[in-house]
Symmetry: C2
DNA sequence: TTAATACCTCAACCTAACTTGAGGTCAAGT
DNA sequence: ACTTGACCTCAAGTTAGGTTGAGGTATTAA
């Protein structure tokens, strides 16, 4: 039963993406397929996890090239085993934690900065940036606390 | 001293973006400028906060059109006051909280799904999706827990 | 067996968010 | 006065991530 169809239409529907998207991902080297006698794609089940992970990673703002890099720890032609998935997952965990704390910082900065009364334009570094310019040189801005 | 230069080059450097980006944002209606006698842009200081907020919002995956919508509560020609910034900020707070909890769910799902041993391919919904298909119909996938 | 789907490839098109370049003006230092 | 660097506009180019369409082949249900 593992060798059910897993044709491109089935996988697309199952993953909530278009057929053209699967073609596209394959062309980008993010997923792969075998072909049947009539040259139609037949996928191994792990493609579904790959697509799920691609879609999740994209919501974190991770681009396809980075996703591909992360996938590179997985075997190309065989279905990954548990250790291999776990290894890959570990790097996302780190990214996720970073993103989460970035957003928490951002939330707090927004609070502080909007609430601080600095619209008096007397002491806020946003309105009086010279100190910052002097000390840190030109560059990114106060809310931009991290990658 | 508030009426220092605030020319396009200064603001660009201060915000860590290119001059062309400021032109672009102005053309999209996200920021505005006055012109001096020689037709050169002169900004009010609040442009710096606007750009900072644009850049922060983009990290949340928010597009420029949505950012523009959020900015629409601010006065077009005058410098926003504290209440106006705070009103705008409130909507970001909600989005931020949503994003944060999405990521936390995602982190947990990843844990659970990679760690669950379902690569035995016996019981994992990813590998045996028929039940899901039957009960929920085709569509998005297990890791995709929310917007 | 035949009609309706489902697939195939390849090239072109699309939106978002910018960047680059050409051709010309403005402002600041010497 | 003059040169250098900052600005100006407008059009075209770029990257990411897909989507659409044309022209043709496979599979499947009746």
């Amino acid at each position: 039963m593992l060798n059910k169809k897993l044709g491109v239409g089935f996988v697309a529907k199952r993953c909530g993406v278009n057929v053209s998207t699967l073609h596209f991902y394959e062309q980008k080297g993010l997923i792969y397929s075998n072909r049947n006698q009539g040259n139609q794609r037949r996928y191994k089940p792990d493609v579904i996890r790959r697509v799920a992970i691609i879609k999740a990673a994209q919501k974190l703002g991770i681009g396809l090239t980075d996703i591909k890099r992360a996938f590179s720890v997985l075997p190309d032609k065989a279905t990954p085993n548990k250790q291999q998935w776990a290894a890959m997952s570990a790097s996302w965990q780190q990214t996720l934690n970073d993103k989460i704390s970035y957003m928490q910082r951002l939330r707090d900065s927004l609070d502080r900065c909007i609430g601080c009364g600095c619209l008096s334009m007397q002491s806020c570094p946003i309105y009086n940036p010279e100190d910052i310019l002097a000390s840190k040189g030109p560059g990114p801005v106060i809310l931009d606390a991290s990658p």
